[in-house]
């Protein structure tokens, strides 16, 4: 770690901390009830802070990582070197700096989490909306497929897809994860749309002669936003965990590129001699998922219509 990286790290920490503090104070002082409820929980604020910090870390990876993530520094001298001032999180079995890999891995892991969840939420929302709005055979066909999708634990399908098509490119991996993660969301959205479609404003929109797509996207879905947003927050965490599991089993992100999951996989065989190579990436995953769960808790509180002032 050079002075520059330490400086960058401190700047990232302060930046994310101050950002959250500013947001929180504005929300608590302001008169938007929703935001006040969101920031009321200390845990939620912490979650946003941690997530902001990690997002900055991912974006500013070149500044924060003292070494290239795949560089083997000195395979003889620096193999499984414990945490020290030079290597704050130690080095792994191939003498790569764990901190640098963690920083670059944030890009991969958070990227997969965000993109995978985006795919899952989009597909889930569209399927749920179509199913709930059009009902009849559309509903039957779509919901029966969802039944099938939910019947097999996702990891089975993903293992099959990823293992059978050996060496999938990154985009295909994200797509595969996203396309097996939308089933729950589609049910939530469908339930919401089913009740919304009977409301007067939807009927009014239809009476004005709007087409189905327009009614769904302009009138129905904006009112179903709350559960979609919450399940998006949870979705990112789930996708991240899924990617980590796959990478851990050796069939996710291909080495040597670091993802938090395959860092754990690399570390697992060395866990007794160099536990730090396993512990830190796992903590990073836990931190992100925990932040997202905390944010989802806060969102659920903030978006709960029952708490809305009449």
């Amino acid at each position: 770690m050079t002075l520059g990286t330490w400086l960058a790290l401190v700047v990232a920490l302060v930046l994310s901390g101050e950002l959250v503090r500013a947001l929180r104070q504005r929300a608590l002082r302001g008169n938007r009830d929703r935001w006040r409820r969101f920031f009321k929980h200390r845990t939620t604020s912490w979650g946003i802070g941690i997530l902001t910090f990690l997002a900055i870390v991912a974006l500013a990876a070149p500044l924060l990582a003292p070494y290239p993530p795949n560089q083997q520094l000195d395979i003889v001298q620096l193999k499984n070197h414990g945490p020290s001032w030079t290597f704050i999180l130690g080095t792994d079995v191939l003498s790569r700096d764990v901190w640098s890999r963690l920083v670059w891995g944030a890009r991969v892991s958070l990227g997969i989490g965000a993109l995978g969840a985006l795919v899952a939420i989009s597909v889930g929302t569209v399927v749920g909306a179509l199913s709930g709005y059009y009902r009849r055979w559309v509903d039957t066909v779509l919901m029966r497929s969802v039944d099938v999708g939910l019947a097999l634990p996702r990891i089975f399908i993903l293992l099959m897809v990823v293992a059978l098509w050996d060496g999938l490119p990154f985009a295909a991996l994200v797509l595969a994860i996203g396309l097996t993660s939308w089933f729950g969301t589609s049910r939530l959205v469908r339930a919401e749309v089913l009740s919304l479609r009977e409301r007067e404003f939807v009927m009014a929109a239809r009476a004005l002669g709007m087409g189905g797509a327009r009614v769904i996207f302009r009138h129905v879905l904006p009112n179903a936003a709350a559960p979609i947003i919450v399940s998006a927050a949870l979705g990112v965490g789930n996708v991240l965990l899924l990617e980590a599991s796959l990478s851990f089993l050796g069939i996710g992100v291909a080495p040597p590129d670091p993802s938090w999951g395959n860092m754990i996989a690399d570390g697992a065989s060395e866990i007794y001699s160099a536990p730090w190579t396993t512990i830190f990436p796992g903590l990073a995953i836990a931190l992100v998922v925990m932040s997202l769960n905390a944010i989802a808790d806060g969102l659920r509180d903030a978006l709960d219509p029952r708490e809305e002032p009449a």
């Binding site: 019947a151 099959m160 293992a163 059978l164 729950g184 796992g282």
Partner: protein, 328 residues
């Protein structure tokens, strides 16, 4: 009504089997790949013998016919009938998930109820953060850490396997071996159970608080029912209804966990079998494990639905009510 849903469940499982079958057959890769030292002539003869040279629809039809006769096929990688491999491994997975489920529900329920009774106070806050943390842990990572701590550093538990390989090989039954099996079971079951329990606690706390704002709870309090009785009789009984739904959801979680945990702890169960089957492209074994896994999930859900109807008279009146299921 029950019959209709049973038929629907079977249809879902059938669809899963079809999906898996198609997926395997459109995937690249051969059951006996060219980079293995197998005589090509032998390979093609083997393929002919097992009907793998036929067109895919015909293979599918043959598989279904065999399945209808209870024949799950022959595993190439294990060189034995799939059924034997399943019969051998499923009890281990049942042991593991049974123990994990026990820890999950007992610990989770207790924590959730306790938290709800101390809502927004110190114990609730502390436990809430702890369960949030554990709930967010990757199961396989927790497994590695517990292994490192309790098996390697402290030496309290074995590092893997289901029983002592020399003193207690499979089939030996004695009090000592029973204890030995429990000893081997504890660490993997706790790993899986702990993460599950954290989720259950969060779920149960929310369910209890959901009920807490209901009118009948307020009425009970107003007429002077002791707090303990309000929590146990009025809140808990109704919160347990949504817990039944969670029971149905536990199965996918346990099966997913089984794949990872069994791989880490060298537990000879079906999860590890399925994983190895996929890696070795063992078609029949993959399809069979997918069949079992989906059957467990689907019938688990069905059981939860029926149980819910049995427990909640309100649902019996409105027979069209379907319980919403959210993925794990």
């Amino acid at each position: 009504m029950i019959l209709r849903r049973f038929v629907a469940s079977v249809a879902i499982i059938f669809a899963v089997v079809t999906l898996v079958f198609v997926l395997i057959h459109i995937a690249p890769g051969e059951p006996c790949p060219s980079d293995e030292p197998v005589d090509p002539a032998v390979c093609s003869e083997l393929k002919q013998q097992f009907g793998l040279d036929r067109p895919v629809p015909e293979q599918y039809w043959r598989y279904l016919v065999a399945l209808a006769h209870g024949n799950l096929g022959y595993s190439f990688s294990l060189r034995r009938p799939v059924k034997d491999a399943l019969v051998e491994t499923i009890p281990f997975t049942l042991q593991l998930s049974g123990a994990a489920l026990l820890i999950d529900f007992l610990l989770g329920l207790l924590l959730g109820i306790y938290q709800a009774s101390r809502v927004n106070r110190m114990p609730d806050w502390v436990l809430g953060n702890i369960t949030l943390f554990i709930y967010s842990l990757p199961t396989f990572w927790l497994a590695l850490i517990l292994l490192l701590l309790f098996a390697e550093k402290l030496g309290w538990f074995p590092v893997g396997g289901a029983s002592h390989p020399i003193f207690c090989p499979a089939g030996v039954d004695s009090a000592f071996c029973f204890a030995d099996r429990i000893w081997h079971l504890l660490l993997p079951a706790v790993t899986l159970g702990l993460v599950g329990a954290a989720g259950t606690a969060r779920f149960q706390r929310a369910a209890m608080l959901d009920v807490a704002s209901q009118d009948y709870v307020r009425t009970a309090r107003a007429k002077g029912v002791p707090e303990r009785r309000v929590v146990l009789r009025h809140q808990l009984r109704n919160a347990l209804l949504s817990f039944i739904t969670r029971f149905g959801l536990a199965f996918p979680f346990l099966l997913t966990g089984a794949v990872l945990i069994e791989t880490i702890f060298a537990w000879p169960g079906m999860g590890r079998l399925a994983f190895n089957a996929i890696l070795t492209r063992d078609h029949t074994l993959v399809t069979a494990t997918a069949l079992i896994a989906s059957a467990v999930v689907v019938f688990g859900n069905l059981a939860a639905d029926l149980l819910l109807e049995l427990a909640d008279p309100r649902l019996r009146v409105r027979a069209d009510v379907t319980t919403e299921i959210v993925t794990v």
